[in-house]
């Protein structure tokens, strides 16, 4: 392995990691606020790629289609919360998780019914996919664009969370629903906003994913969804920084695994789960997570 190849793999790993990070943030934010694995998040991400696909398919230029995609995905995420989770807020946890699984399954099968089960080719846009050459390295533009877009989004997100009223409300609600309610915070609206932000990030991740791996199908959200949840757990569920670290860690190590141990390629999808089990065994709170002890 030459150092050039290594750099190329590293660049690929970072861009995959960026995508993982964007999706993982949605999991970690929802978990932080509801203590719930939003099983449907991966499928929301999948739907985003279809929205973008149809936008471009019907002749919209990408700079129109992609923002519309984000909007639609946000609406979808919020309606999933409204229908599948809201009325179960005081229900036993197991019911909420079942509802989440139902929502996920519904989205997948609706996608099969509406869009068909066969993969579709995602429209590739020259400005993103053009291959550029730096010395001996040839790399898609996208490989750079993805981390840059991710970085910008992270800056915006950190502003949202730390400086705006909604962001502060989110942090308060994730600490303690009851206290937050007493302080006059509208819990439902705050939770909705959390889903909106998570879905928007998933939509942007979805569009970039489609450009990078231009084949989309209704079950494409399942694996990335699971992996990104794992990324969030590795980073410490509930922590946004953790989700980003976990996403990059998983993305880079997955690419490196395939690059360095070619015989392991078949096990690529199992890799994340093995890491998950190791993390849970040795540091269940993840890298950035705090220990939350239930009040007794």
């Amino acid at each position: 392995m030459t150092s050039i190849m290594f750099l190329q793999h590293l660049a690929n790993g970072i861009s995959l990691g960026s995508l993982y990070a964007l999706i993982a943030i949605g999991y970690t934010m929802v978990y932080g606020i509801l203590r719930l694995i939003n099983f449907a998040h991966g499928d929301i991400f999948m739907m985003a790629t279809y929205f973008a696909f149809f936008g471009v398919f019907f002749g919209l230029p990408w700079y129109v289609a992609f923002p519309i995609t984000i909007l639609l995905t946000v609406l979808l995420g919020m309606s999933v919360e409204l229908t599948a989770y809201r009325s179960l807020r005081d229900a036993p946890k197991i019911s909420i998780m079942i509802s989440a699984i139902g929502a996920s399954f519904l989205l997948e099968n609706l996608a099969i019914v509406i869009f068909g089960g066969r993969p579709k080719a995602f429209p590739t846009e020259e400005i993103f996919t053009k291959v550029i050459h730096i010395g001996n390295i040839s790399i898609q533009r996208l490989t750079f664009i993805i981390p840059v877009v991710t970085a910008i989004l992270l800056i915006i997100l950190s502003y949202l969370i730390n400086k705006t009223k909604t962001g502060m409300a989110m942090r308060a609600v994730s600490k303690d629903h009851e206290t937050a309610r007493l302080m006059g915070i509208n819990i439902d609206r705050t939770i909705s906003a959390t889903f909106a932000i998570g879905s928007a990030l998933a939509a942007i991740g979805g569009v970039m994913w489609g450009l990078k791996f231009p084949q989309i199908q209704p079950l494409m959200g399942v694996m990335p969804g699971l992996k990104c949840f794992i990324a969030a757990v590795i980073g410490g569920i509930g922590s946004i920084t953790g989700a980003v670290i976990g996403g990059f860690f998983l993305g880079v190590s997955e690419i490196m695994l395939v690059a360095f141990f070619q015989s392991m390629t078949g096990y690529r999808d199992a890799f994340a789960f093995i890491i998950l089990i190791i993390v849970l065994l040795f540091k269940p709170t993840g890298i950035m997570g705090e220990k939350i002890s239930e009040k007794v």
Binding site: A91, I94, I98
Partner: protein, 351 residues
């Protein structure tokens, strides 16, 4: 009282045997197959309900245990000849090439291997709180699938296994289903079963009452895995063909639907619901397939059936959380009362 119940139960079992005898003789293959599936889903539903419904652990690894069971019985029961035919890409690992076991020991080993894996995965995963367990078990099922796709000389990889001897018949499937029902009833009504329910109700109170959470969770999980493995084995030898793609999350989803609809924490509910769900899964198959009306054909829409079932699952949890039975069970007392007074079934039952 006890005597009467004992007789009534015995009579019902005899009736079941008579029914199976006639079904076996006279019913067509398609119906027999569905009946077999009902019995197998009863076993699978009960095993999942033990873990999720009675012990309150949220495990989503059932497809993985079933895969272990199905592959174990399939590999052990395939004839030498069929093994050669199946493994044309890469021959089967030498020690397995010539083993041909009878069905029962193969099923037993399927259960034991599955239980062993359940124990190994449970030991780390059950130290985790609810949602982590869900993801870890889901992940585990995925790993099993990936491993089975890649171990060409043991499982024949993605090609799967064909010509598995069709040993599963009504006697096996219903026999084991009845055994499972009895086993679960004895377990749930023992001191251990009460400990499981205590864990479901309140973990902190349970451990403060001296219940070793970890030990009992592992116990429940391992027993559940055993029966899931046996169920998987029965399924493989019913279908005759298996491949790793069969054991996707959809399979776990179907079983989850069964226990949620029947009532998490009710044996009776699971049995009823296993039949209802299995039969409707078959009956609604038409949704996915084109319907030929002679003059014209309504095109089937693939996936429609699962849309119906996911909506059903959500409706049940959203509006009818306790399912058909909640945590209530069938009893002859209630049953006779209903017969006599035609009062609505199973109201006011106690756990």
């Amino acid at each position: 009282m006890m005597k009467r119940d004992y007789y009534l139960t015995s009579i019902s079992l005899v009736l079941l045997v008579i029914f199976l005898y006639f079904a076996d003789m006279y019913m067509d293959a398609y119906i027999i197959r569905i009946l077999n599936l009902c019995a197998i889903y009863t076993i699978l539903g009960l095993s999942m309900n033990l873990i999720n419904g009675f012990t309150g652990l949220f495990s989503l690894g059932h497809a993985g245990f079933m895969a272990i069971g199905a592959y174990t019985t399939a590999i052990l029961t395939l004839s030498v000849d069929a093994k050669v035919q199946n493994f044309f890409l890469e021959p089967i690992a030498a020690p397995l090439a010539n083993v041909v076991w009878p069905f029962f020991p193969a099923l037993l080993l399927a259960g034991i291997l599955s239980a062993l894996v359940g124990f190994l995965i449970g030991a780390p995963a059950l130290r985790l709180k609810g949602d982590y367990l869900a993801i870890a078990t889901l992940g585990f099922a995925e790993i099993i699938r990936v491993v089975f796709t890649n171990t060409q000389n043991i499982t024949n990889g993605a090609l799967g296994l064909k010509r598995i001897p069709p040993y599963t018949n009504l006697w096996w499937s219903f026999g084991i289903a009845v055994f499972t029902v009895i086993f679960m009833a004895l377990l749930i009504n023992s001191s251990y079963g009460r400990a499981f329910k205590a864990i479901r109700e309140d973990e902190i109170a349970a451990e403060s009452m001296g219940i070793n959470l970890f030990k009992h969770k592992v116990m429940s999980f391992t027993i559940g895995a055993f029966f899931a493995g046996v169920g998987g084995g029965l399924l493989g030898n019913l279908l005759g063909t298996i491949d790793p793609a069969m054991f996707r999350f959809t399979l776990t989803f179907n079983i989850l639907l069964i226990i949620v609809l029947g009532g998490m924490g009710s044996i009776t509910g699971t049995v009823i619901s296993a039949f209802v769900v299995t039969i409707s899964l078959e009956a609604l198959r038409f949704l996915d397939q084109p319907i030929d009306l002679g003059l014209f054909v309504i095109p089937g829409i693939a996936g429609m059936r699962m849309v119906v079932f996911s909506v059903l699952l959500m409706l049940v949890v959203l509006f009818y959380r306790h399912g058909l039975m909640g945590t209530n069970e069938f009893s002859w007392d209630k049953f006779l009362k209903v017969l006599r007074f035609k009062r609505p079934l199973l109201k006011g039952g106690k756990n």
